[in-house]
Every structure is written in structure tokens, then in C-alpha cells.
């Protein structure tokens, strides 16, 4: 018996050829977030506090698909969602369809702690966020140039992509000098 913590920053078709300038910041962020969690749990914070703290940090990092850096809908908008759950009581809270809330995970915790419900979505969730005074930001805060490019590629291919799907390559592309916005060569 002892404390333990684990975190993820997304799964998908992550190419082993991922260049260092894209890999290293993500690895550094994972280490940073892990250390935040370890410090918190060593300091005696509850597991609920720890997971909220760590996920907030991951949300604030544009390299991951939550909060700032969230991927875009087909309309070019963000719709974020989050959930928390406590083991011994099975208390839980969840939110969906957020467009302005800086840290969705904290709003999910408020749903758990301040309402008789489990799950709020879209306008109701945004309204609840305002009532609770949680930090909100203009939707443009969450949208990164990289994700605008990813949406463009996905729309051109008429596909949806899970986290870290490799850029979609257009087979008709014959311009060998062409490269994708993230620096990945289309010709390998």
C-alpha cells in the first residue's frame, strides 16, 4: 500500500519519427505535471485535489487536447468536456459543450460538489460556470494555429482524427518541396 499517480496526455497514431521539437515539449510537460501531482500528494492533498490540479495544468498546456489547444469542431469552434470521480463515495461530476471555461475539470468538480446532479452540458453548463464565478476566457484563447491546420487537413480528407493522428497526406500531392504546417514532410 502506498500512494501512486498516473496521467495521460492523449493517445493515437503518434509517429516514432516525431521530431524532437514536437516530442520534447510534450515530454517535459508530462514530467512537469507529474511532479506537480507528486508534490501535492506528498503534501497530503486528497486524491481529488491532486487529479484536479494535474488536469488543470494539462488543460493549460497547448500541446494537449484540452483547454488551450483543444481540437476544433467542423464549425471551427471548441466544445470542451471534463469529468471527475471519487472512488470511495462514487461521487462524480461532468460537463460538456464548454466554449469559454478556462478549466473544465474544475467546473466538473463544482457540478459534483454544488449541485444534486452529475452532468451539465452546453448552455446550462456555461450558465452554471458564470453563477459559480469560474474563470472564463474568449473562445479564441483555446484555438491554436496548429489545430486550425489540423482541422483544415481533416476537412479536406473528410475525416475525424483522434489525438495525435498523423497529418493526413494527400496522395495526389506531387510537390516534393511541400511540407505540412507542423514541419512533417509529406514525402517521408
Amino acid at each position: 500500500m502506498g500512494w501512486a499517480i498516473a496521467l495521460h496526455g492523449g493517445a493515437g497514431d503518434i509517429p516514432r519519427s516525431m521530431p524532437p521539437e514536437r516530442r520534447e515539449p510534450r515530454e517535459a510537460a508530462l514530467r512537469h505535471c507529474l511532479q506537480i501531482g507528486v508534490d501535492a500528494i506528498k503534501a497530503g492533498r486528497s486524491p481529488l485535489d491532486v487529479v484536479e490540479l494535474v488536469v488543470r495544468e494539462l488543460e493549460d498546456n497547448p500541446h494537449f487536447n484540452a483547454g488551450r489547444g483543444s481540437v476544433l469542431t467542423s464549425n471551427g469552434t471548441v466544445e470542451m468536456e471534463a469529468c471527475v470521480m471519487v472512488g470511495d463515495t462514487k461521487k462524480c461530476g461532468a460537463v460538456s459543450g464548454l466554449t469559454t471555461v478556462k478549466n473544465a475539470v474544475s467546473l466538473a468538480r463544482l457540478v459534483m460538489e454544488k449541485t444534486p446532479h452529475i452532468y451539465l452540458g452546453f448552455d446550462g453548463a456555461e450558465q452554471f460556470a458564470k453563477e459559480q464565478g469560474v474563470e472564463t476566457l474568449d473562445a479564441s484563447h483555446f484555438i491554436t494555429p496548429e489545430n486550425v491546420d489540423r482541422l483544415k487537413q481533416a476537412k479536406e480528407a473528410n475525416k475525424v482524427q483522434i489525438d495525435y493522428t498523423q497529418p493526413i497526406q494527400k496522395v495526389e500531392e506531387e510537390d516534393e518541396s511541400a511540407s505540412l504546417p507542423n514541419g512533417d514532410s509529406q514525402i517521408g
Binding site: 500500500m1 502506498g2 500512494w3 501512486a4 499517480i5 498516473a6 496521467l7 495521460h8 492523449g10 493517445a11 493515437g12 497514431d13 503518434i14 510534450r26 515530454e27 508530462l30 505535471c33 507529474l34 501531482g37 507528486v38 500528494i41 486524491p47 491532486v50 487529479v51 484536479e52 494535474v54 488536469v55 488543460e59 494537449f64 487536447n65 484540452a66 489547444g69 483543444s70 481540437v71 476544433l72 469542431t73 467542423s74 464549425n75 471548441v78 466544445e79 468536456e81 471534463a82 469529468c83 471527475v84 470521480m85 471519487v86 472512488g87 470511495d88 462524480c92 461532468a94 460537463v95 459543450g97 475539470v105 466538473a108 483555446f142 489545430n147 475525424v160 482524427q161 483522434i162 489525438d163
Partner: protein, 132 residues
């Protein structure tokens, strides 16, 4: 999708997950993250946070199935999570991180890679992307 699971020295567990969903998803689409028992689950045995393709994770009730295999079949956390990831969801659709009440940690995935990290009281630390 980002997520975190934690257990303290008394065996108290919690899980949290947050996401923007899928690139080019339809407006109004809800994925696995906020669905209790799919992308996020915790009980007195384990805490689970999943990532990947939400529709597959919901269909397979990934989080709850890990807990159910421990609860009803007596599997260890590692075996329960490995079974769910390898047998219950299509290849290339899911990864998860999980901890048990007795401090076990596991991070299986059936995608090409998963950004992940873990640590425990014994001093073990791991940061990884692909299968080692």
C-alpha cells in the same frame, strides 16, 4: 484527451479526464470523457481515465469494465486493464491510465502511442510515449 488518476497511502482514489474531443467532430458531439464508466471511473478498487476514440470507449464501457473485472473476477489491476484494452476495444482506439487502492499503476494502450507518466511511493517514475 488528458487525464489523471491518484491514490493516497490510505487507499483513497480519484480520477479526472478533460478533452476537446475529435478533430472535425460534429458540433454537439459528446465523447467518452464525461460519461461515467466510459472515459472516467473510480470506485473503492481502482480509478481509471481513458483516452482515444470516444465512441469505442463508450461502447466498451472501458473504465467500468476494468473495475468490474477486479470486483467480480478478482483480477489484478494490471490484468483487468490489459484485458479491457486488448480484448474489448478495436485496435487503435483506446489507452488508459489506472491506479488501484493498494498502489498499483498500469498504463496500457492499443494505439500506436500514448503520452503518459506515472510515479509511486517506492520512487518508481516513468514517462513514455510508445511501447518500450
Amino acid at each position: 484527451t488528458v487525464g489523471c488518476v491518484a491514490v493516497d497511502s490510505s487507499g483513497n482514489l480519484a480520477a479526472a479526464t478533460s478533452t476537446g474531443g475529435l478533430v472535425n467532430k460534429m458540433a454537439g458531439r459528446i465523447g467518452d470523457t464525461p460519461i461515467i464508466g466510459a472515459g472516467t471511473y473510480a470506485n473503492s478498487l481502482c480509478a481509471v481515465s481513458a483516452t482515444g476514440k470516444g465512441e469505442a470507449i463508450i461502447r466498451a464501457t472501458i473504465g467500468r469494465d476494468v473495475a468490474a473485472l477486479m470486483e467480480y473476477k478478482g483480477l489484478s489491476l494490471e490484468k483487468a486493464a490489459a484485458y479491457v484494452v486488448q480484448e474489448c476495444a478495436p485496435v487503435g482506439t483506446v489507452g488508459l491510465v489506472a491506479v488501484s487502492a493498494n498502489g498499483q499503476v498500469t498504463m496500457p494502450f492499443n494505439t500506436n502511442g500514448m503520452f503518459r507518466a506515472c510515479a509511486n511511493e517506492d520512487g518508481y517514475t516513468h514517462v513514455g510515449i510508445w511501447q518500450d
